[in-house]
Symmetry: C2
């Protein structure tokens, strides 16, 4: 028996950008390639990726990337990874691959890798020295899977994200039989989802949300808007099913909602007949009690459909008294205030707003403590390495493992960059390699294939542009107190006229918005960021990091 | 019968800075004078107060301020109000008055008003045309009360914050009998706490947390740290009681915890014998299993005791494996990430961290829907005006009133600045006056009596100083990429040398902190803010708003 090195490059000590390297006999297989969303203190950053240094330095060893499911925190950095290193093969289940194909197509990368569609019921496949198969897991997106890897160092079960939903909407339960069978064969190491490890008990079935929709939707007489993650196909399906039974047509609003809706319908994961679908511009023609709108923005993202609806800034959708808005999601920590702001705005416009605090319109996609215990009991691994969570969640998962009979030396509390060596002697942390964050900026500018990927070393190449403006008034009487000021760093020669142009552009954008009563700082920032990014790119083909600092005085 | 005008100056459409004006026959009585904490987009602001314009313009009419309870969002702006207008009388229950006295003393205002201590069992008192009495309400601070005002326009019940705790720790239940009695006499208008109106059912009794402490504390063998709001006297008492029974001594750590602990003990609201109290510096001398530390920082406030402990930056307290930290509070929306960061840090240092997600160590101080319904049923008002909450909470409270039989014209959905006229014809909104936010900045500089109070008009007098610095590294290798840059606005002549000095000071502060491995953006900002504020004040006696913009690249 040999050795396998397991190196998490993301997802430990954080929620997001999951990525784990499996390395043996000069071969590397990567499980998941996710991204994270920036925190407020990451000014001027749109996305956060894992640091790919470790993989860049070992490009020739990469045999492929295996994906557990189609959420952005598991697949979102794949196109960026593929711009840095050659990925010969991408393996995923059907829906996951459908979502990834669309993503790669946008980035012009569709022909860069072989795409292998594998089902949990297919025979194992080989990538380098790894013999790999999928196991069906229930989660808040269809077609999620655990990955079982037979490595030279021992058998590994990598759960991906899961819950033990015994009544999933599509009938695709977590395959506890297969997990037990693999457990019987002997598992050296379990890498398990820790998101809800701190919470006692079981997560409720997705079906509970469908039951809530069945209570809520038939009683309503106005327009109904349901906002959720665009990847939550079963959530959309359940809302659409009840709505269609009540004689409502369904509209998909927001870019990712339309895109994911199409992919899911084309691949047979969602069933809404063509004649039951409205286009957003048809909404005005149909009575409000014959409409259900599925829209993005459940996290209060500044430019999303729900936020624009809440600020009465959406081209096709508005709310009025008698309408109902269902926010079928939980705010990710850090997004609470934005979501609350949107709820208050919608309530003020007269809509009834239902959300997780006042109606059972959301359940988690992640199993709680008893489910994690169940998986440990079924798989009976020699060692457990908690992944996918902040440190406190990993620590809680470790405690569950301890209570589940895993000996202390078999509990691997690793962090991003830890090198875990797995062999017949068990698993242990032997080294630490570079792991960190890479920032993506400039999604507002031009084509998605053309964004700026930058890490600490690269930032200095394109520079930083800081725009400072002070404004008065959040009560509809907003105005600039003085022209904006700019601080440019790392801009080349000839920047003086450019700075004048940028200053004028920032002033124009802000004055136009303020004249239109747009006074939300986050929206103003977003618009200034995009406008200046466009000008700089036009003139210089460069993408400085652009930080709008707007101060209300 | 005459008319009473009721004007909320804060607390509607928001959580915080509660303040309501009652005006009749050329007299004004103000109920509560609270403050709010700034949101992240309020850069450079320490506190937010109501706009006192309405009261400034009617100073001669003010007969007094009546306080419902001692929380900052109900009493915190009183000293600032008293710097603007003369307040002849302050009326409150015993503990509330004790807390307010200490606050006024710090601001040098103790002799500026008559202080009337009133109990809910005293006879009504008169302020101008208003005959006023208190009613005992249970809340997360002792001695909370509703205010009943006999006004020329009719009888008003103003609940303050409350829950219907039938087993409060001090036995002081919400006085449902007196409320029913007042209801029988006839109530024209109820102003009620809306905080938890969206939540179904009942809030649990404070005693539940005591039971959790009784499960948790006796089993622990290391140091125990309990973090909660310093005003939550019963929470502290319950933790101290269990700890003392287990042979632990009690330490009060953090400025407001020490202060409130002293006031509560002196007034008899808390019972911890002197010989059971440790000073922070004695902690090192006592075995860890003989200690209970009550500390501030349950909201992850940057300079609080718990945050400093979590970042291993506290002079007296540290944690190690085997210790237990109990966060006995819920993060206020917007504070989640800071609290999560602290939990992760503490968990990483080896402490077991118990918080509302994994143990029943917190209950709300605000009643939920069934409690609000009960109060409406007891008081049977002709009209209900939801107060104390974001718009969605007020709307939910309005819906409860509607369901409770209040006619549509008796449901007053007001906002800050609404003028509600109460007369024999009922209550209705008749006008809108100036209401808004006033910012307080500069608490880090010098004496609390000496902070800068500023609103939009005043800001320009002292100006704005924006400090921009870019730094690398959050992994202990932090460094400035270039000297900080400054943007000054509204600074007078001679500022050039001052700006050079400020630039050098900012650089020095940041380099010192980075050399000490302090890389938390919020902490760095706080230190830069305080240091530059000090220099500017020394040189110019001015207090510009100081905004440190730190960009990690």
């Amino acid at each position: 028996m040999g050795i396998c090195r397991i190196i998490p490059l993301g997802g430990l000590g954080e929620v997001g950008k999951n990525m784990t390297v499996y390395e043996a006999e000069d071969s590397i297989v990567v499980v998941d390639a996710g991204l994270a969303f920036p925190r407020d203190e990451h000014l001027g950053v749109d996305l956060v990726l894992p640091d790919f240094t470790y993989l860049r330095e070992r490009e020739h060893m990469i045999r492929g990337v295996v994906l557990t499911h189609g959420h952005e925190d598991h697949v979102g950095s794949l196109p960026y990874l593929m711009r840095e290193v050659r990925v010969p093969v991408i393996v995923a289940t059907r829906l996951t691959l459908g979502l990834v194909k669309s993503k790669l197509d946008e980035h012009g990368l569709l022909r860069e890798a072989e795409l292998w569609e594998k089902s949990p019921y297919d025979d194992p496949f080989q990538l380098g020295p790894f013999r790999i198969e999928f196991v069906r897991m229930a989660h808040s997106i269809p077609d999620a899977a655990a990955v079982v890897l037979e490595t030279p160092g021992g058998r590994v079960v990598h759960t991906g994200d899961y819950k033990l939903d015994h009544t999933p909407v599509d009938g695709q339960r977590t395959d506890v039989g297969k997990l037990a069978d693999i457990g019987n064969r002997g598992v050296s190491l379990l890498l398990g989802d820790s998101t809800n490890a701190e919470r006692a008990g079981f997560t409720q079935s997705e079906r509970v949300v469908g039951e809530a929709f069945r209570q809520i939707i038939p009683q309503r007489t106005g327009r109904i808007i349901v906002s959720s993650f665009a990847s939550n196909v079963h959530r959309m399906q359940q809302a659409a099913d009840v709505a269609m039974e009540c004689g409502r047509k369904v509209a998909f609003v927001g870019r990712s909602m339309r895109k994911n809706g199409n992919i899911a319908r084309n691949l047979g994961y969602m069933n809404v007949p063509d004649d039951m679908i409205m286009r957003p511009h048809e909404l005005a023609e149909l009575p409000r009690d014959q409409q259900l709108i599925l829209c993005t923005g459940s996290q209060g993202e500044p430019m999303s459909a729900m936020t624009r609806i809440a600020y009465n800034d959406h081209p096709a959708v508005s709310v009025e008294p008698g309408d109902t808005v269902i926010i079928s999601a939980k705010p990710i920590p850090g997004n609470e205030l934005r979501v609350h702001d949107a709820i208050n705005r919608l309530a003020k416009m007269g809509a009834e707003v239902l959300h997780e605090d006042n109606a059972p319109v959301h359940v988690s996609g992640h199993g709680k403590a008893e489910e994690l215990r169940t998986i440990i009991g079924l798989v009976r691994p020699r060692a457990v390495m908690p992944v996918h969570g902040e440190f406190r969640m990993l620590a809680a998962h470790a405690q569950l493992a301890r209570e589940g009979g895993i000996p202390e030396e078999g509990i691997i509390l690793a962090e991003n960059g830890s090198v875990v060596e797995l062999s017949e002697h068990g698993a242990r942390i032997v080294d630490q390699v570079t792991a960190g964050m890479t920032f993506v900026d400039g999604l507002g500018v031009g084509d998605v294939a053309d964004v700026a990927l930058r890490d600490r070393r690269r930032l200095s190449e394109d520079g930083v542009l800081i725009v400072v403006a002070t404004l008065t008034g959040s009560n509809g009487d907003g105005a600039l107190t003085a022209p904006p000021e700019l601080i440019a760093r790392g801009f080349g020669e000839g920047a003086d006229t450019l700075l004048d142009e940028l200053r004028a552009e920032a002033q124009r954008v802000l004055e136009d918005l303020l004249a239109d009563d747009v006074t939300e700082i986050k929206l103003l920032q977003e618009h200034v960021h995009d406008a200046l990014g466009g000008v700089v790119y036009d003139r210089t083909r460069r993408r400085p990091m652009i930080l709008p600092v707007l101060v209300e005085v």
